[in-house]
Symmetry: C2
Subunit: 417 residues, 2 copies
């Protein structure tokens, strides 16, 4: 049996075929940055709804100042400020002081900025030719009734939020965030901030996977640390956590204490894939039960993080309403040689990108034999390669998958339309 | 008097000379993604603290299997699992079953994976040569006591968090987020979700500036909508809000109703710059009082957003412990011609980037004369150019400043070291 049935993309495709967009929730528009809109936001009246001034100055009727007309001064008949109710119509030969954003009175069609007039005896004197309609914004110039400022499926940016408020909306319907259960297995694993015993390790995996879940738009629900016992793993799976997705780290090997797959079988989790042709992370598996996706990731943090970025990311992004078939990636220039097996199997390395002179460079991290924690601690991306060369050379361009997209994910708008 | 004393970078430098890194706070490490570390995180004992197995298999003494030695089978003397307290030392000619992560018993130096042995009568039979020390991780191989996994000033990624937990820490000291007061001025401005009157507009600026504040790592504190009155503006400035920075939109012109600068003078705000050689946003001003930075931005949302990205961003990023002298930017290819004045004055346009075939393209948004709200609603970046050409041509590479960095900002690690 070929244990590694699926390529990385093949395994992702299994996830994509099973994943469903989550339901919608209504949130304050101020919270909507990076969320995916679950309704069409329509403009329901012209913006602006009437003519407004674009300058501080004087509202005039351009006919009074036409070149064939001797009249180059106008009586100041009053003043109107932004927020004022429009008053009486402008009389011929008159003007009104007006501020930016104020309604242009009937009878006026243009605004002359303060700096273009002189004032004597309650009159403005205009030297300069004026253009009819100058500095007046017409009804609907910003948006017309019926325009759509955000569609279902739009990922919202600060400007989208601003435009939604322009339509008078303070709330918006968005696809809800996926709830990601995180379960860490292993008799040796303990929480930090307790003095561990010699044979114990801290559950850094929980924190890594939690941070990655947030980075791909999910909410972390910690399901605890579970000993290496099929029975105990099963009891966690059978509890109702309200998760949309459950990520389990550890227990992926073939040893007698690796019991995740056994618990899945008993719990009725249908396997979507079990084993992927990749390194690290080849033992990664995915299943589904009652619409909830289950991921079994390796126990090694470097490997579990890589597997999360390859598969869980895609599940979370699609649940939250984004149509992506692979994790967000970009290209960077290798700053050091990077050794591969060169067997064409997809390989992943942690790395740290830095930007200088408009160029994105990436330094591999965690490839050292000893003391790699210091360097891996700075990693901000995964380097992906399926090269058949034994070495990727310094200066070559490689694919990098950033793992620091930010809680609100709107940076994704940079990558996806 | 040259009203536009400062270039954009000149004005930023005034901000940089005044801005101070904020104090530290202690937070849960799970919340630390994108935050800046305010302490050195030291490894205080070797990781792992003793030899552990890297495979599920059998712990052996390689001497028992040396090629000159006839003995190719070993008695299974027991089993040890990850989390177990190491038991008695291995006797010569014996082996123990061992799981990944379990402590290697004294007397053993190597681990043979399950798949490399056969078992008969409680003995393992080894055909393959083994390498001394294989699949055993030595004390300190991951990190040595005294290693530093995060330094003061490090921006934290998911991997940094994981490494901090590996040191046994559940809490971490970080630079606190800047509190950004947002004040919107204008008699005409009202909150959304009320039926506005004809002469009123919704305060989309508040939401735009709030979203931008979050995107650059700040916390928004809304100071309300203030009428165009120097007295009322002053009363807001004199209240204590606990803000590290106050951003005021509107009231930057020279009209009689523009009273921000007047209120600043009465409140004792010292001007750092007043007017910048840029378009839009040339009326932008910045002052300081009691260590709090005050920004006066234009009332027009497109202009206020541009000014925020040029100046407030840099203040917030530095307050939060990042050493940046300009907003994060990258390069993109113009997907349409873009008209400039061509006078060398720095110009800014909103745009939307999309990524295809590894190329970042940018479409200008909001340059349309009419109905621009639909298009500007999708903007995710600001395009910056000080070209002296009248037109930037389709296909040219331009600088773009993403405005969707995400709440946790760790994407910035992509740009800054």
């Amino acid at each position: 049996m070929n244990r590694f049935r699926y390529t990385v993309q093949g395994a992702r495709n299994k996830v994509l075929s099973a994943v469903k967009r989550l339901s919608a929730e209504t949130i304050e528009v101020s919270e909507a940055c990076g969320r995916v809109c679950a309704e069409n936001i329509l403009v329901n009246e012209n913006i602006p709804s009437r003519e407004i001034s674009l300058r501080d100055g004087y509202a005039v009727n351009s006919k009074d100042l036409a070149s064939e007309c001797a009249l180059k001064s106008l009586e100041i008949a009053g003043a109107i400020t932004a927020g004022d109710i429009p008053g009486a119509a402008l009389e011929p030969g008159a003007c009104v002081r007006i501020t930016t954003g104020a309604p242009v009175p009937d009878g006026a069609d243009s605004v002359i900025p303060y700096e273009d007039v002189s004032i004597r005896q309650n009159k403005i004197f205009v030297e300069k030719e004026i253009g009819k309609g100058q500095f007046v914004m017409k009804s609907g110039d910003i948006a017309r009734s019926g325009d759509i400022v955000a569609k279902t499926g739009t990922m919202m940016t600060p400007m989208t939020i601003s435009a939604i408020v322009d339509t008078g909306r303070a709330y918006v319907k968005v696809v809800r965030r996926p709830r990601v259960g995180i379960l860490v297995t292993g008799n040796e694993v303990v929480e930090p901030d307790v003095k561990r015993k010699d044979q114990q390790v801290y559950c850094s995996n929980r924190y890594l996977l939690g941070a990655l879940a947030r980075n791909y738009g999910g909410e972390e629900i910690f399901l605890g640390i579970c000993p290496d016992s099929e029975k105990e793993t099963l009891s966690v799976l059978e509890a109702v956590h309200g998760c949309d997705c459950v990520v389990i780290s550890g227990g992926t090997g073939k040893g007698e204490h690796d019991c995740v797959k056994g618990a899945w079988k008993k719990a009725g989790v249908d396997i979507l894939f079990d084993g992927v042709s990749m390194h690290p992370g080849r033992s990664t598996a995915c299943g589904i039960r009652g619409g909830v996706l289950y991921f079994s990731l390796p126990g090694n943090p470097l490997a579990s993080g890589v597997a999360f970025v390859q598969f869980v990311s895609v599940a979370l992004l699609n649940m939250a309403g984004r149509n992506v078939s692979s994790p967000p990636c970009t290209r960077a220039i290798l700053a050091e040689n990077l050794r591969l097996k060169g067997n064409g199997i997809e390989r992943f390395f942690w790395g740290r990108t830095t930007c200088g002179k408009g160029e994105l460079k990436v330094v591999p991290a965690g490839t050292e034999k000893k003391g790699f924690l210091q360097k891996i601690a700075g990693a901000n991306c995964v380097i992906a390669s399926s090269s058949k060369e034994g070495v990727l050379k310094k200066g070559e361009t490689v694919t990098v998958q950033p793992v620091c997209l930010g809680l609100d994910l709107s940076y994704l708008t940079f990558f996806y339309s």
